[in-house]
Symmetry: none
Subunit: 140 residues, 4 copies
DNA sequence: GTGGTCTAGACCACA
DNA sequence: GTGGTCTAGACCACG
């Protein structure tokens, strides 16, 4: 589970968390029954107040996306149908368009833009691998 | 120029306006020097308070995208200043990271993601060329 | 008639005009039946839009302080009783206290503060004499 | 510290708060480092919206009079920076001119005006000495 | 509990 | 008609 918070977007942080978990759940990146990161470590990782994560999880629970078992953690509920491919492309297109517009706006040329994308994909891949590695450590 | 507000997204309305006007400027739908819709009529059209639009325009002005002449209206600037290169990369990185994380959550594979990016860049380019073509028509 | 507008006070300009004319009328500095400066020259002198002065005069008329005879000008109405001396001191004290507090805030010492007061009294005296002189010119 | 708002004066409420806190600071009623009343209780006491007080405090912070620590409160600064001498004279001149014009409108003669100024300065000095005395009592 | 932000309505200054 | 400001209510992030 990798979450990305944009502190300057003006969008409430707890909603950014909610949206990303909803998307991950709807597309199958998160599996039904899977456990979500617990509040305190997640808050620390994202450099955010614990209340904020708690609010996001509480929102997700009231939306029926997750289930909280007190003392055991939060788990993804079962009732999710994976989104169809076109829907997923549509959701992704929104984010891509924003990046392209921003690039044009900042007068970043096409080749430089694409290079930056590859650079970031590699960087985030490394981060994800480290992250999963730590999780394995925790489980062992 | 047509703006579309999503009242349920949780994203501040004024930021939705800012983003969409940036898109309009980047795509050529708005041309340098052109007058933007006046605050009051635009607010009515979008069913939003005047101040919300005023805040969006004020934000755009502080970003250097538009210029506002009190009593006359708001106008798209000719060429807003380029920031220092590192700052531009930093700002762009935020958007790119969001798109990559979204792709990961949607389980869109790397090659498909890159293909979608090229597709959207081409689409935006075509749109911009169309607008430039119209501009020539107007001048002739 | 000398009016003093503070553009940075945040107090509506038209209300500053109203208040000062009310005070001048109530204390007898303006005599019943006396003509007030007409809108256009006054607006020019104060570097203010004509609408703003018109609004002040209209407010004064609806308060019953002045009377507008279309085409002839605005005149002070008759029904004013001069304020008692203690009331006048009280009204003046408000302004004086503000100046003293500002002086303390700006760390201007007592002697310098008093010197500045004498300087400004002389300056405004000169201005008033010039002003009256012009009025005599106009009448002659 | 007791604040008094005049809702009918037309002067913005937040500026009335700003001025009165400046007075409290100048008169010693508020001491450097001391905490100001929190926004919400003060707003309730004055029967005013929270934002109005927040705006006053934000103005005071940008003037360098107070310091605000989010989540902790607002505090009177130790010694706010002195502006350049000409700027200070300019700011003070505005207040002095208002007092002089008011005196003129109220037909208060020059000698009486000056006497009133000395009277008010002495009054403020006495008040400040009283507060300093109380401060010593607190420390002892 | 603290301060900060977004949306909204009413009013102001100006062309 | 234009944009700008002040007040207010509801919500957010944080300690």
């Amino acid at each position: 589970m990798i979450l990305q918070i944009n502190f300057k977007s003006g969008m409430p942080i707890y909603l950014q968390v909610v949206d990303q978990i909803k998307v991950a759940a709807a597309s199958g990146a998160l599996r039904p029954g899977e456990v979500l990161p617990s509040i305190r470590p997640l808050a620390e990782e994202l450099r955010v107040n614990r209340n904020t994560i708690a609010k996001a999880y509480s929102e997700l629970e009231s939306l029926g996306v997750i289930e909280t078992l007190p003392g055991r953690g939060c788990f993804l509920k079962e009732n999710h149908t994976a989104l169809r491919k076109e829907v997923r492309r549509k959701l992704l297109t929104v984010e891509i368009d924003q990046a392209i517009v921003q690039a044009h706006h900042l007068q970043v040329r096409r080749d430089e833009f694409l290079a930056l994308i590859h650079e970031r994909m590699d960087a985030l891949d490394r981060k994800r691998r480290t992250h999963e590695h730590h999780q394995e450590d925790d489980q062992s």
